[in-house]
């Protein structure tokens, strides 16, 4: 392990441009995380690698900024009554196991198929999960938007109603976000999958949040807020594991945290201005755009593995840049929707205050 660490540990030189770049990416990542409970990491990790940070160190440093960010975000959203701490901790513990198992799988793939094999695995996981889950979430949000029922209370989905109806003695626990007792045997595989995804594509929330909504029956706002507790538990354990091997560049982590704490406060406040379906909408839009970004890279890795004819260096470079650009675009779109929602919500509130003031004067 120490040889591996010696190979991957190198501290980049930080100048004003690097610091500003990390701070700004951190801000946008924090904004999206504060709103949908996760996100940002899929741009931050490659974003650090662009600066010359070794891959494993970028993952470790990202994780070390994630848990304090999630802590601040979850405390903020707890003030709005959106957090189910018990559910977050229960899922977070099994997610931790998923992270360790996911990292182990990654190591095995890297050992047997090299970097290209590992990258291909990550990209295919991205494409399959984002197309299935992202497509479903976006479709659901769109249906709600079109049906004109955005002001109605969210209905507990069919699957969640069944999960809540199953009684397994000795495993039942009450969760306030569900307002029901469910067997923790259902939360274990969900947490495990969230952790595995976090170890694979860095954004466990793309499974965790939809799972809490559609499988357990949590409202969107509570699911996205509770995901921050899961991210804290997962991130703390993961950071400690990486720090034990000396892989965390605390400078990078704290600079990103500097920006993301501005963003997460704003994103958390944003949830108080929007209708619940907006959480699904932002998450679905980001997932589907990111899907295209990763999909573009699949042929590159297939060519590196010799499955399809090799590509010219120029083509690979163009595909890589376009892929990164689309990812950054996904985050930008998410941030734009959130900021617009906050701006509109504040404007409406101001107008209604002015109206009531004029009314009382009259």
């Amino acid at each position: 392990m120490h040889d591996v660490v010696a190979q991957v540990t190198s501290f980049i030189h930080l100048d004003v441009a690097n610091v500003t770049y990390l701070f700004l990416v951190g801000f946008v990542g924090g904004l999206v995380s504060g709103f949908i409970g996760s996100g940002g990491a899929f741009v931050l990790t490659p974003g650090m690698m662009v600066l010359g940070v070794p891959g494993l160190m970028a993952v470790a440093s990202n994780m070390c900024h994630k848990f304090p960010k999630a802590l601040v975000g979850s405390l903020k959203r707890a003030k709005y009554g959106q957090v189910d701490v018990k559910l977050g901790i229960i899922i977070g513990i099994s997610a931790e196991a998923g992270v360790l198992y996911g990292a182990h799988i990654q190591e095995l793939i890297k050992k047997n198929f090299g970097n290209a094999g590992s990258n291909l695995y990550v990209s295919i996981a991205f494409v399959i999960i984002l197309s299935v889950v992202g497509g479903f979430v976006l479709r659901d949000a769109w249906k709600t938007h079109r049906s004109g029922t955005t002001n109605d209370d969210e209905q507990v989905p069919k699957l969640a109603r069944w999960v809540q109806s199953v009684h397994i003695p000795g495993t039942m626990m009450y969760f306030k976000s569900l307002n029901a007792r469910i067997s923790i045997l259902f939360t274990i595989p969900l947490g495990f999958a969230t952790g595995m995804l976090a170890a694979t594509i860095a954004v466990g929330g793309f499974i965790g949040v939809p799972a809490m909504i559609y499988v357990l029956g949590a409202p969107s706002l509570m699911a996205s807020a509770t995901e921050l507790v899961i991210a804290f538990v997962m991130g703390l354990g993961g950071s400690f594991k990486y720090a034990m091997s000396g892989l965390v560049d605390i400078r990078l982590a704290m600079i990103i945290l500097g920006g993301s704490l501005f963003g997460i406060q704003l994103g958390a406040m944003g949830t108080t201005y929007v209708k619940p379906f907006m959480i699904k909408m932002v998450m679905g839009v980001i997932m589907v755009i990111v899907l295209f970004s990763r999909g573009l890279m699949v042929p590159v890795y297939l060519a590196q593995l010799g499955v399809i004819p090799s590509m010219s260096e120029m083509t690979v470079k163009v595909l890589k840049n376009v892929s990164f650009g689309i990812m950054a675009f996904a985050l930008g779109v998410g941030a734009f929707i959130i900021l617009k929602a906050i701006w509109q919500g504040r404007r409406e509130e101001k107008l209604s205050r002015q109206e009531s003031l004029a009314h009382s004067k009259a």
């Binding site: 720090a243 605390i250 500097g258 704003l266």
Partner: protein, 85 residues
């Protein structure tokens, strides 16, 4: 008018400035001691507690600053009581 003035007085300017000053001091300390920090924090083993403790300290101080920062700017959560069901 009086209500507006009262609202303005409630803005946590002093806590924001205090937390901001400590936050800046922490970042200055981090950036001016990069070599020492890189060498010590990345030693691995029990030294792992150093980056974790640093992350908690920064999140507490800087988190408090950013929270006050938005409040002072007038960006706050919706006043409408939202019931999460």
């Amino acid at each position: 008018m009086a209500a507006q003035e009262q609202h303005a007085r409630k803005k946590p300017v002093v806590p924001m400035l205090l937390a901001g000053a400590v936050s800046i001091a922490l970042y200055v300390a981090l950036m001016t001691n990069q070599d020492f920090i890189n060498n010590t924090f990345a030693k691995g083993g029990l030294y792992a507690f150093l980056p974790i403790a640093t992350a908690f300290i920064f999140s507490f101080i800087h988190g408090s600053f950013t929270g006050h920062f938005w409040t002072v700017l007038g960006v706050e959560a919706s006043k409408k009581k939202k019931e999460v069901k």
